[in-house]
């Protein structure tokens, strides 16, 4: 059923705690049904953003995820204040999401393959990468190296966290260096780009997976679309900086629908048995 809504208001018979309107096709979707369909529109296939918890449920085998560094929180190195103080912004994001910062990291199995898994949450300050995200991802990569377990990172981020200034920028170099050690050691790293993955996160570890997968329709780009369109003084073409645009231009390996994501990751991890693991039997 297609709903006409000329006044731009939600009709009363669709209260928002029960129904969500698809931003792509306009269909009113029953929340429970949407959740059951992994937050993908049953009408047009639009992929809604997924929180970190839901993402873990999607990818990790049941009860396999053990969180690490769960208590880590950010300090306020610059004493940063815009319209709110940085600690106030963090507190608000913690209350909103129930997470301490914008990434959850831990160990898990994906289709029985042991992995180190990190999932970002866009709801927490736009998934921005500051000290905590940088440190947790770096530790995740270091654990993957020590355990010789593949690393899977699901990115969802607007970029580096402005409130931490240049220290946030340095997290790009820190996380890149950490995943680079995996590269040298022959430990697989699968990077999954979800809506949105932009700025400093895309310009660091997220672009460097052995395999880079993206969800359909995800916004993926270096510069914000507003900056880009101001730079050229015109509107951008439809589909610019979407997952399919990156696929066309050669920067992601596959665009994978959410329903197939777990099995696809498992396929690649199965193919790339970690260097050293096979050798244990022939030594």
């Amino acid at each position: 059923m297609r709903l006409r809504n000329p006044f731009g208001r939600k009709p009363k018979e669709f209260p928002s705690h029960l129904w969500t309107q698809c931003p792509n096709c306009g269909e009113m979707l029953f929340n429970k049904q949407l959740a059951r369909n992994q937050s993908v529109c049953t009408n047009c296939g639009h992929h809604f953003k997924l929180g970190a918890k839901e993402r873990l449920e999607l990818l990790a085998d049941a009860r396999s995820f053990t969180e690490t560094d769960a208590d880590m929180v950010s300090s306020d190195p610059l004493g940063f204040v815009d319209s709110k103080t940085y600690p106030d912004r963090i507190a608000a994001a913690q209350a909103k999401t129930g997470h301490k910062d914008a990434v959850l990291t831990g160990t898990a199995t994906i289709s029985d393959i042991p992995v180190v898994l990190a999932v970002m949450d866009f709801e927490f300050m736009g998934g921005s990468m500051g000290s905590v995200v940088g440190e947790k991802l770096t530790r995740a990569a270091e654990r993957a190296l020590a355990d010789r377990a593949p690393l899977v990172i699901v990115a969802a981020s607007g970029g580096a966290r402005m409130q931490e200034g240049t220290i946030a920028l340095m997290q790009l170099a820190k996380t890149v260096a950490a995943v680079t050690r995996l590269d040298e050691a022959g430990v697989p790293f699968v990077s999954v780009l979800t809506d949105p993955t932009t700025g400093g996160v895309l310009a660091s570890f997220a672009s460097l997976g052995d395999i880079v997968l993206a969800e359909p329709g995800a916004l993926i780009g270096f510069s914000g679309a507003r900056v880009t369109s101001e730079t050229i003084g015109e509107k951008l073409p439809k589909g610019f900086q979407r997952a399919e645009f990156l696929l066309d231009h050669g920067f992601v390996d596959q665009v994978v629908p959410r329903a197939q994501l777990k099995e696809r990751i498992a396929f690649f991890l199965g193919a790339f048995r970690v260097a050293g693991q096979d050798l244990r039997w022939s030594l």
């Binding site: 300090s75 240049t166 920028l169 820190k174 700025g199």
Partner: protein
């Protein structure tokens, strides 16, 4: 942090013809007691069009510079200059972002904003440095990577990520000098090194003050406040350890005297490279990893403060 270099002076061998490792450098913000320029003044000075840009510095600091062009894939990006030159008679690879000294020149150089092919040219030259065991010197001076649609099509983010990656494990000494504007990831793509120096009035930030103001204050006019909040000026960078030391500029700023500025840069580069070339490459790489690994201030209620400030790594290198 400051001790990284200041400590080394105490630890390093003296009196055998080598420059002291902090020659011409400011390693302590005490030098700025009471007379720090405001963040906004720093932004203006760093962007001064008369400031020495990469080629001004290269022609004065190095001898026999031979420029190398092109990324071998798409085109030659004029916003990045790269080549082989001699520093004190010894060959080095130099890569820098190039701004213009006039509007015309700036248009030609795209205001120092590289395209992905610029970063890929840089990567190609980094690899040359590694292959032929030449030290690498990079000169950072960009408002940021070019944000246009063609840059997106050709993978701006991937190019920057790869450049950071190659620098982070390049098996040769790297000294980074921030000349003017260190604008975000586009600057960091040339900014991973064993020693990171900056001219006194250079800035280095995660986003431009205008960009930050537009997002956080919803008005680009608040750029001055944003600049102050982001702590992007030289002395701030010294305090956070983002740069190891500042290179003194002539009174009035680098734009007033290119020769004197270049002389100070040369002194600093020679002193740093003399030191770094004596460090075994494996140590260099693990220390470089630790240098960037240590950035960040996190709190773990159960474990107390981790990610302590970087330890003075020279001492460990030299075994003291």
């Amino acid at each position: 942090m400051l001790e990284r270099i200041a400590g080394s002076r105490r630890a390093g061998p003296e009196g055998n013809g080598h420059l002291p490792v902090d020659a011409g450098l400011i390693t302590d913000t005490a030098a700025y007691a009471g007379e720090r320029p405001t963040a906004w003044q720093a932004v203006q000075t760093a962007r001064n069009i008369g400031r020495p840009h990469a080629l001004d510095v290269i022609s004065r600091v190095f001898d026999r510079f031979q420029e190398l062009h092109g990324d071998r894939g798409f085109r030659d990006d004029p916003a990045i200059v790269a080549g082989i030159a001699e520093l004190g008679g010894r060959p080095v690879v130099v890569v820098g972002q190039q701004k213009g000294a006039s509007t015309e020149e700036n248009i030609e150089r795209n205001f120092g904003m590289p395209y992905p092919e610029g970063y890929r040219k840089a990567i190609r030259c980094y690899r040359l440095a590694e292959k032929f065991h030449l030290p690498l010197v990079t000169l950072v001076d960009t408002p940021g990577a070019y944000p246009g649609p063609e840059a997106e099509e050709r993978g701006q983010a991937e190019a920057i990520a790869s450049s950071i990656q190659v620098m982070s494990r390049l098996a040769t000494p790297i000294v980074v000098v921030v000349l003017g504007e260190g604008g975000s990831g586009g600057a960091l793509a040339l900014g991973v090194g064993d020693v990171v120096l900056a001219l006194e009035n250079a800035i280095y930030s995660v986003i431009s003050p205008e960009g930050s103001a537009a997002i956080l204050w919803r008005s680009a006019a608040e750029a001055e406040r944003a600049a102050q909040a982001m702590k992007l000026a030289g002395p701030d960078l010294l305090e956070t350890g983002v740069v190891d030391a500042l290179i003194k500029e002539p009174a009035g700023g680098a734009h007033t005297d290119h020769d004197a500025t270049a002389a100070a840069i040369k002194t600093a580069l020679v002193a740093q490279l003399e030191r770094l070339v004596r460090v075994p490459v494996a140590d260099l790489l693990s220390l470089r990893y630790e240098r960037f690994r240590s950035f960040g201030t996190v709190v773990e209620p159960r474990a107390g403060e981790v990610a302590a400030p970087p330890r003075p790594w020279w001492r460990r290198v030299l075994g003291r």
